[in-house]
């Protein structure tokens, strides 16, 4: 590091990204609480382990090849260029940059921030498939969404040189599409193959409500996801950079915070817009669901997710209204899809993440129409068609299709769904019986000791 200012900026940036990571841990704790709370008592432990074990699996695979994909694939490849082997080489698992290296203080924390996004993508899918998927199948799917599909979409649409940004003017500052729409689409692809839980639909097709065993735990889990979302938001920004460091069209020497696209924004903007879109979602979620706590909390999440694509630039009132619109649409779509297509999305993840993310991308195209998507010359401006195509790519091409294909392969190998009898008895049946036997044994020993 040359010069004290450069050193200060580098260490500040290093600390900034580091601080986002423990915050984002709360997202995962929240997802675990939410899923376990939504499951029935006979499935608790398997539900918890299913979500927990995606952490090591996605982490190591993201280290092995996920991070490389991000740096190798911004051009498609073969859409705006070939594989970016030069940038990718610095981000392989065997690169010197991945270990302790006083010449590179940023790669490690940047990698970890992206990794926590990967966990989130996989965790979104986890909730929708509870109580009937084999854990082994889910963990394969978690690696596919967490270390392959989402990171390819990030290279395409969430990278300062991504081909979608260049050609479509794609703008998705806080990941309406690159995390939420893709994960929702992926979950839907898996659900189509996996099928509903036993008893979810009556013989005439009428859906039944399988209520959370602990609504309070579900809501607290969602509350924790809000808390972790703060880390997610700030991790999407570059905290401080000078125009020379960006190397684009910006002139002068005024330093700024930027989005992942290196377009200027402020931390103040995203803080206010986060809260306003959360509020819009909560208000509409409450009204639409007639005060149902699960959908009210989910509405808050859907509000943030809908506004996220443009929350770097929206006025706070826009963020509030957009958050409300997305929440209303997601809530109505959830029940419509459930009834029409017999999709059992146990926690509403496809709606809250998938539909809200998709809608948020489309709205962003209209509201930010004409705004430059990049500080570099020759990039398309933000526009409705580009955003709509981007939403299709996120939800269907990189979300639904890979989820459906991998689930089909797993189903063909009889690896996807647990046996019917196990589903009736409960995933924790064996361990519950063992615990009961152990407790009875202790009780009889205690009685003998009286």
């Amino acid at each position: 590091m040359e010069g004290n200012l450069n050193a200060l900026t580098t260490v500040f940036t290093e600390f900034y990204y580091w601080a986002t990571i423990p915050l984002m841990f709360f997202i995962h704790i929240g997802f675990c609480m939410y899923e376990v709370g939504a499951s029935r008592r006979r499935n608790h432990l398997h539900t918890l382990m299913k979500n927990t074990m995606l952490i090591p699996l996605v982490t190591i695979t993201f280290f092995f090849f996920g991070w490389w994909l991000y740096w190798a694939m911004p051009n498609g490849p073969f859409i705006t260029g070939g594989l970016d082997t030069e940038m990718a080489a610095a981000n392989t698992a065997w690169s010197e940059n991945m270990g302790p290296n006083t010449g590179d203080r940023i790669t490690g924390v940047f990698w970890a921030a992206f990794l926590l996004f990967s966990w989130t993508a996989a965790s979104i899918v986890s909730g929708s498939v509870i109580e009937r998927i084999k854990s082994g199948a889910f963990w394969v799917l978690a690696v596919v969404i967490g270390s392959v599909a989402w990171i390819i979409d990030a290279a395409w649409g969430w990278h300062y040189g991504g081909w979608m940004v260049q050609l479509l003017g794609y703008h998705d500052a806080y990941a309406s599409g690159v995390i939420h729409a893709i994960a929702g689409g992926f979950a839907l692809g898996v659900l189509v193959v996996l099928g509903p839980r036993l008893g979810k639909f009556a013989k005439d097709g009428t859906p039944r409500s399988i209520n959370p065993h602990n609504p309070w735990m579900v809501c607290l889990g969602l509350f924790l996801i809000y808390a972790g979302f703060w880390g997610f938001y700030v991790a999407c920004n570059v905290p401080i950079i000078d125009p020379g460091g960006i190397g684009g069209q910006i002139t002068g020497d005024t330093w700024t915070a930027t989005t992942i696209y290196l377009t200027p924004t402020t931390l103040g903007a995203i803080t206010v817009n986060f809260l306003m879109s959360l509020s819009g979602g909560l208000l509409v979620g409450f009204l639409a669901s007639k005060g149902n706590p699960f959908w009210t909390y989910s509405g808050g999440l859907a509000g943030i997710i809908t506004a996220s694509a443009g929350n770097d630039l929206y006025h706070p009132i826009h963020a509030m209204i957009i958050g409300g619109i997305g929440t209303y649409c997601a809530y109505k779509l959830h029940y419509w899809v459930e009834e029409k297509f017999k999709i059992d999305d146990a926690v509403g993840a496809v709606a809250v993440h998938g539909y809200a993310g998709f809608i948020g991308l489309v709205i962003c195209g209209f509201v930010l129409w004409g705004h430059p998507s990049s500080p570099y010359e020759g990039f398309a401006a933000i526009n409705p068609l580009g955003q709509f195509i981007g939403a299709i790519i996120m939800f269907f091409v990189l979300g639904f299709v890979p989820g459906w294909i991998v689930a089909k392969i797993l189903a063909a190998m009889d690896l996807l769904r647990i046996p019917r009898r196990v589903e009736l008895l409960g995933l924790d049946f064996k361990s519950n019986r063992e615990e009961q036997a152990a407790a009875a044994d202790v009780r009889s020993t205690e009685k003998a000791a009286v």
């Binding site: 125009p243 684009g248 069209q249 910006i250 002139t251 002068g252 005024t254 700024t256 377009t263 200027p264 924004t265 903007a269 208000l283 409450f286 009204l287 007639k290 005060g291 630039l313 929206y314 006025h315 009132i317 826009h318 509030m320 209204i321 409300g324 509201v367 930010l368 129409w369 004409g370 705004h371 430059p372 990049s374 500080p375 010359e377 401006a381």
Partner: protein
């Protein structure tokens, strides 16, 4: 024409201020927001009253209330 008024980032950041879309319509948007806020209270109160009225209609006599309490 960009909704934010920024056509390109070939600018010196010290020369620009607000970068949100539809500048000049803030007052209208705030007015819309206030109307939505007040509308929310009206809708919420109506829904809450309907809910309570429904309960009162269903359990209008003491026997019904006692029966419901026994079920708790």
């Amino acid at each position: 024409m960009a909704t934010t008024g920024i056509e390109s980032w070939a600018v010196d950041l010290k020369d620009i201020g607000a970068i949100y879309p539809f500048q000049g319509t803030e007052g209208l948007f705030v007015l819309a927001g206030v109307i939505l806020w007040l509308g929310w209270h009206l809708l919420q109160m109506r829904a809450e009253n309907e809910e309570y009225d429904g309960i009162v209609r269903q359990h209008g006599d003491d026997a019904s209330v006692n029966e419901a309490l026994d079920g708790d």
